[in-house]
């Protein structure tokens, strides 16, 4: 590969070449050559989401770590442009110096890169308040398999020129290209953050309280229901904003909780622990579903009755639920996990096995069901990566 600096570094297997391009152009050349040589490529940021999908061995591991840094930040425009390999934590630090923040709280937030968060559509609990990755992302530059770098969207918050290819990249798991640059919406840091956590005897009470909080006049930043294998149903609420608004939000939440026979105490790092469930769930299987809001409570009640049930975290504001299943009997884990995903599908939602113990990888596919329009997804994949070099096998649909 003339002209390309390939650094062989910490090979995973003897044949894997680790490529660490310095910029977008170099990244594109790596992909062009790989396409020409029919060599497969896996893309890594910080490697925090390697458990998702079905990963087969590739010829090249392309690391985005040098395509990092904050490229542009104009505080008054409330936007930031960063390299795809930039870590969320580093971006946050830059923004904080200007009194702003990136309103995104994905799992693995300490290590995750912006490109990885986009590719994995990795959201946290702030989604209902500020929108998810798809709502915050306003522009991208992506190195494609043919060696070109395609730009979509732009630097401005409103832009309908051409197709919204940014959306296509969100949740694409690197199968369409390498995100080398992203522009995101940011917000001024609010003056106050406060929260509470409450315990309820029944899921009905917990979810009814959550539902009221989600619709309340003073919008909260996070509204999450949790249930562990032992213990009560919990509702965590966090509000951020101006002093009077935060106080109002928590006052209303507390009133609702009391009316539902819950008891509220101050919020500690509960939300952080709930958010990092994917990081902890190294055994058994972790099911992640997105549900119509009305289906959340029934899904949750059903989940906790399952034999393998270990933990449940439901973002009551967006309908994203995670269920951790643990059982000595692998067959039970597989059966229960697949049943949960199917049940989500049956109520009009969708789901996947987000994580499973290493030894279950081959037996438990990430996607037990297929989304509608998967034939379009395959056509899109073929159009962007005709040689099929990018993340082969990572996604069931590409």
């Amino acid at each position: 590969m003339p002209g390309i600096r390939l650094r062989v570094d910490r090979p995973v297997t003897a044949t894997v070449v680790r490529s660490i391009p310095a910029d977008a152009a170099e990244c594109a050349r790596v992909l062009a050559d790989a396409t020409a040589d029919r060599r497969t490529v896996r893309i890594t940021g910080s490697g925090t989401k390697s458990y998702i999908g079905d990963i087969s061995a590739t010829d090249i591991e392309l690391a985005t770590e040098r395509i990092a840094g904050v490229i542009d930040h104009v505080p008054a425009d409330l936007t930031v442009t960063v390299g795809g390999g930039a870590r969320i934590a580093d971006v946050a630090a830059t923004l904080a110096r200007a009194g702003q923040f990136l309103p995104l709280d994905p799992p693995h937030a300490d290590e995750a890169t912006v490109g990885g968060v986009i590719a994995a559509n990795s959201n946290g609990f702030w989604r209902a308040r500020y929108g998810g990755v798809r709502d915050l992302l306003i522009g991208t530059r992506t190195a494609l398999a043919d060696g070109t770098v395609a730009r979509a969207g732009g630097l401005v918050v409103k832009n309908v020129a051409g197709y919204d290819l940014d959306k296509l990249l969100v949740g694409s798991f690197g199968t369409l290209g390498v995100i080398v640059e992203a522009t995101l919406k940011v917000l001024p840091l609010p003056e106050k953050t406060d929260g509470l956590i409450a315990r309820f005897a029944s899921p009905g009470d917990a979810f009814a309280a959550a539902d009221t909080v989600v619709r309340a006049a003073a919008r909260v930043e996070a509204c999450v229901v949790q249930r562990l294998a032992e213990g009560a149903w919990q509702l965590a609420v966090q509000a951020r904003g101006g002093g009077p608004t935060v106080e109002r939000a928590l006052r209303d939440a507390r009133r609702e909780i009391t009316a539902r026979h819950g008891d509220a105490t101050a919020l500690g790092d509960d939300l952080g622990r709930m958010r990092e469930l994917p990081a902890r769930a190294i055994d058994g299987a972790l099911v992640r579903v997105s549900l119509p809001l009305a289906a959340s409570v029934a899904f949750a009640e059903n989940a906790v009755r399952i034999d393998s049930f270990a933990a449940l975290v439901v973002d009551a504001a967006s309908g994203i639920a995670r269920v951790h299943l643990v059982n000595d009997d692998d067959d039970a884990v597989i059966r229960d996990a697949e049943a949960l995903v199917l049940s989500a599908r049956m109520v009009g939602g969708a789901g996947r096995i987000e994580r499973r113990a290493e030894h279950l990888r081959s037996r438990l596919p990430t996607w037990p069901t297929r989304p509608n329009g998967d034939f379009l997804m395959r056509r899109i994949k073929d159009a962007f990566d005709p040689a099929g070099i990018l993340e082969p096998g990572r996604s069931a649909f590409a």
């Binding site: 732009g154 401005v156 409103k158 949740g171 003073a218 919008r219 109002r248 119509p292 329009g373 379009l376």
Partner: protein, 467 residues
């Protein structure tokens, strides 16, 4: 034509010359006459039509209320115009899931009115919301004044049913916030009818804000008004809307709506904050203070719902009120980073002056989305529109050079497709073309839109000025 009638029945097909003349325009300036117009009443009708057109290689152009401002509904390459006027039912209001399922012909405001008894609304509120359809909103990814805080159409659509050019019906997404696999819903919103015909839409509903504060501030010049916008944002206040209007626009609006805008102000801002009652007064006071610090000659706070409606009625009727200043106008929709407002507004004015045309400005200042209305009179000769378009092109070029976009909410359509190379390089456009080909291999869905076409764009050869 006869085949269509046999397929769908005579009541769903228009083919008479007199009738077709009335489907050659929309809310903008370009025109082209269709070969036939079809008025489907169901998804099955649409699928049958698509199969027919696929078989006979006939282009299909979707149309909602025809309020679009980029020629999206104009059959520039002929073919069949599909009017969704008869697919206008709200199919379901799911209050507990905060979703509504609608047909594409439902009028934007009708949805918000229908869900208001449940304390909910549909956020995107294009100025044409009394008339425009949700299908059109999905096609154009429409915005509106209140998208500053709450996002545009794509942020409020979770599912669609789409009929592909071969007649295949696909349901994408649903009531859940996301589906697995590529985000085909997100990719389709804003595709201007070039990927398929959307026959059903699932949208998010949002709890109505408890209260609002609406301020109208008058400034001696547009510069002061522009600087105020940045100052408000910099102060950490994110209003739900910040709208700006120049003196010419104010005068046209006052003649039609009597919104109560001062006629002597060089620039006017309309600022709204909404949410929980607590904290709104603080925000209002803060905004008022910033306005006064930037030489506002008057700051008026709406004290009643009626007064607020009046202030907004002026803004929402502003485009159409241009009919009072000039028989024709050509509106641009460029976007710039909002910090560049003062420079670009000066440039807009100069562009008008250079071409001997007046320009009125009414726009979403909060997100830097300009709407220069270039006034002309086509009765004075074809040269008028040409000059208006030339001025428009200069403005768009400046927007892209400032790091912005040629369109923020009106779409590219057939009006700006030749200008796409201003903003995008050929490799960018090639990537978009891949998505198009995956959805619509024969290229029958709304051809001649978004992508530059050799026949119409020969005279435009741009080097992309985008970074």
């Amino acid at each position: 034509m006869r085949g269509l009638v046999a397929l769908l029945g005579p009541t769903k097909v228009l083919g008479a010359h007199d009738d077709l003349l009335l489907y050659e325009y929309d809310g903008a300036v370009d025109t082209a006459t269709p070969d036939a117009v079809v008025l489907p009443e169901s998804t099955a009708d649409v699928a049958a039509l698509a199969r027919f057109c696929h078989e006979h290689a006939v282009p299909i152009v979707p149309r909602g209320a025809g309020t679009g401002l980029s020629g999206g509904a104009i059959p520039v390459e002929g073919g069949v115009v599909v009017s969704f006027a008869r697919m206008a039912r709200i199919l379901e209001i799911d209050v507990s899931s905060l979703r509504a399922v609608v047909q594409p012909g439902v009028i934007n405001l009708h949805l918000s009115t229908a869900v208001a008894p449940h304390g909910l609304y549909f956020v995107p509120d294009p100025s044409s919301q009394k008339a425009c359809t949700l299908g059109g909103n999905v096609a154009e990814n429409s915005g509106g004044p209140h998208t500053l805080a709450y996002g545009v159409t794509t942020n409020h659509v979770t599912g669609i049913e789409i009929v592909l050019s071969d007649g295949t019906v696909v349901r994408l997404g649903g009531k859940a916030v996301e589906d697995e696999g590529y985000d085909l819903v997100g990719s389709s919103v804003g595709s201007e009818g070039t990927l398929g015909l959307v026959t059903e839409i699932t949208v998010k509903l949002t709890p109505l804000p408890e209260d609002k504060r609406t301020l109208m501030a008058a400034f001696p010049t547009m510069d002061e008004a522009s600087e105020t916008v940045s100052a408000i944002i910099a102060a950490g206040v994110v209003p739900s809307a910040i709208e700006m209007m120049d003196q010419l626009a104010t005068q046209a609006v006052e003649a039609s709506v009597h919104a109560g805008y001062p006629l002597d102000a060089g620039g006017i801002l309309l600022v709204e904050v909404d949410g929980a009652r607590d904290g709104l007064e603080d925000a209002r006071a803060r905004i008022e203070e910033i306005c006064r610090a930037h030489a506002a000659s008057e700051v008026r706070v709406a004290t009643s719902a009626l007064e607020r409606e009046r202030l907004w009625a002026g803004r929402k009727g502003a485009f159409a009120a241009m009919g009072r200043l000039s028989p024709d106008y050509y509106v641009q929709d460029g976007v710039i980073p909002r910090t560049r407002l003062p420079d670009i507004l000066r440039l807009v004015k100069d562009a008008g002056t250079r071409h001997g045309l007046q320009v009125a400005n009414v726009f979403h200042a909060g997100d830097g989305n300009l709407h220069p209305l270039i006034l002309f009179d086509s009765r004075r000769g074809p040269d008028e529109l040409e000059r208006a378009k030339a001025a428009g092109l200069e403005i768009l070029t400046a927007c892209v050079e400032a790091g912005g976009s040629i369109t923020g909410e009106h779409g590219v359509g057939m009006e700006k497709n030749c200008f796409m190379p201003l903003q995008f390089q050929s490799s960018d456009l090639a990537a978009m073309r891949r998505l198009k080909d995956a959805f619509d291999p024969p290229g029958l869905m709304n051809p001649g839109k978004i992508f530059p076409t050799p026949s119409r764009c020969r005279e435009f050869a741009f080097a992309s000025t985008a970074r």
